[in-house]
């Protein structure tokens, strides 16, 4: 990935809200208007759209063109992204390639979902045959299996899990777009005593669903300069792996695609984990963040508890993690959730994060996690590094 040839020049975020009653297209409209304002662009300059699939419109086979139609977008490049929580970051990466390849000039990457208002998703594939009959409790069930394996292999310190939960909660208190229900201080005792869902996963190890969405505008740096963009974030490294270990029936579930995608993104950017100023990992479960710290190389295998306990991960710290609260404390807007941590990284890089602004926010690493397969950990892992 050549450096600095692509720029993100604007972003938007809808406030996470439980059962908002809104149409997903209304959320998308709010995002387009705010993103155009943020990037100081005219609607006619958008000629590309990558939009993440939405639970609320899951049965609609014409999702991305209809979305473009609702928003008044005439497009040279239009696509839906179905990589679950890896969709938004994957959409940004595909937008970079489409712009480089000349397919289009300026892309709106958009994710909106009103999953707690309307949910039309029905995952088929292997699940009705091999998962539903055994009563696996969705993602908490899968992460319960994963966490049990981790605990039997390595040390997982409950105080480290609590620290990550509490720090992200403190970040959410400073984020007006976080779900109101989650904007209450959290104590270690409250975390540790939250009720068990699927052992060893507790309620507060998990995300909470809500309605919401995110958007960014991506264009060439050349075009950004021509249109007078005042602030830019450049994607300088990206890696993605889907179906890690699928042909190995005895794959270690404590390994994963981020161990491929992370080093690849770092090599492209010419950086090491020690150079990363802030980390915005996809956080559907706290333990997913711990695994990513190990896979990407912030610490050794089995050492993430020590790393979290020994590092200042707050917005004032040496490696700030999920400075907007992450999905764990801001809420997961269904299939649009993967945009939340991307937008927070851009906001920080633009120096617009207010009271939670990271000092000297020169670069950021953002990750995605997409869908849950049978008896492994997750389907898609992606990692992007952005710089100012």
């Amino acid at each position: 990935m050549p450096k600095n040839d692509i720029a993100i020049i604007g972003y938007a975020e809808a406030k996470n809200t439980i059962a908002s009653g809104r149409s997903v297209y209304d959320i998308a409209g709010e995002l387009l208007a705010a993103a155009l304002e943020s990037a100081q662009l005219d609607i006619a300059s958008i000629d590309g759209l990558a939009t993440c699939l939405s639970s609320s419109e899951a049965t609609n086979p014409f999702w991305s063109p209809f979305m473009g139609d609702y928003l008044g977008l005439e497009l040279n490049w239009c696509q839906g992204m179905d990589l679950g929580g890896a969709s938004f970051l994957g959409g940004v990466a595909r937008a970079c390639e489409a712009i480089r390849g000349g397919a289009c000039e300026t892309v709106l990457v958009l994710a909106a979902d009103a999953v707690t208002t309307v949910d039309l998703s029905r995952v088929a594939a292997y699940r009705p045959e091999w998962q539903f009959p055994v009563g696996l409790m969705g993602p908490p069930g899968t992460f319960g299996l994963l966490a049990s394996r981790y605990r039997s292999t390595y040390d997982l310190d409950d105080r480290a899990l609590a620290k990550l939960a509490i720090v992200q909660r403190e970040h959410a208190l400073m984020n007006d777009n976080a779900c109101e229900k989650l904007r209450r201080p959290l104590t270690e005792e409250a975390f540790l005593s939250s009720r068990a869902i699927s052992d060893p996963i507790r309620l507060l190890d998990c995300v909470m669903s809500c309605d919401g969405g995110s958007a960014v505008i991506v264009t060439s740096t050349e075009n950004a300069k021509r249109t007078g963009a005042k602030r830019m974030a450049h994607p300088i490294g990206y890696g993605e792996r889907t179906n890690f270990g699928v042909r190995d029936p005895l794959v270690d579930v404590l390994e994963g695609g981020h161990a491929v995608a992370g080093p690849r993104a770092l090599a492209q950017a010419g950086l090491t984990p020690a150079d990363i100023r802030m980390f915005h990992p996809y956080d559907d479960f706290l333990i997913a963040v711990f695994l990513q710290l190990e896979h990407i190389g912030f610490c050794d295998r089995g050492k993430s508890s020590e790393f979290v306990l020994g590092t200042d991960i707050s917005h004032r710290g040496t490696l700030p993690i999920n400075t907007g609260g992450g999905q764990i404390s801001a809420g997961q807007a269904g299939l649009a959730g993967g945009g939340l941590n991307v937008v927070e990284a851009i906001r920080q890089l633009f120096n617009e994060a207010g009271t939670r602004q990271v000092a000297g926010a020169g670069n950021a690493m953002v990750t995605g996690i997409g869908c849950i397969p049978y008896a492994r950990n997750w389907s898609t892992s992606n990692v992007m590094i952005l710089t100012t």
Partner: protein, 140 residues
């Protein structure tokens, strides 16, 4: 999760045309898995191709039904069809034939089962004469 409960019904699996041999064998309480004769390896869940070659010369072979618990979770609040059944165990079983199978560990208390324990297959009757493969601790 006692298998004997009268009221509760395990959700009926929805077989596909290429997984039918698995379910037909369960009528005879026979546990079969897909086998690739080229790679000489088993695979599960069933695929329309060999995972190892991408070709379609796959066989179904009877397996032992013996394995070891690889990962385990006690479900405290299950999906709608399992509401009221909690707590129950969902586990990833590493079968002796070298594949992993997700199922329930039954006939024991949730705290009795743990990673590394040996298990063996037992069958939970479904509708239409089919049986679902579940596992119990292989006590000495």
């Amino acid at each position: 999760m006692p298998e004997t409960s009268a009221a509760w019904k395990r959700p009926q699996p929805i077989p596909t045309n290429f997984t039918a041999p698995f379910w037909e064998a369960t009528r005879r309480r026979e546990f079969v898995l897909q086998y690739c004769p080229v790679a000489k390896k088993f695979q599960h869940f069933p695929r329309p191709v060999s995972l190892y070659t991408g070709r379609r010369d796959i066989e179904w072979r009877a397996v032992s039904g013996l394995g070891t618990i690889y990962a385990i979770t006690v479900t405290r609040r299950g999906p709608a069809a399992f509401r009221g059944r909690e707590p129950y165990i969902v586990a990833t079983i590493e079968l002796d034939e070298g594949v992993r199978f997700m199922s329930n560990v039954v006939n024991c208390a949730p705290e009795e089962a743990a990673i590394g324990m040996r298990v063996r297959i037992t069958w939970d009757p479904l509708e239409d004469g089919l049986n679902y493969p579940v596992f119990e601790l292989a006590r000495p």
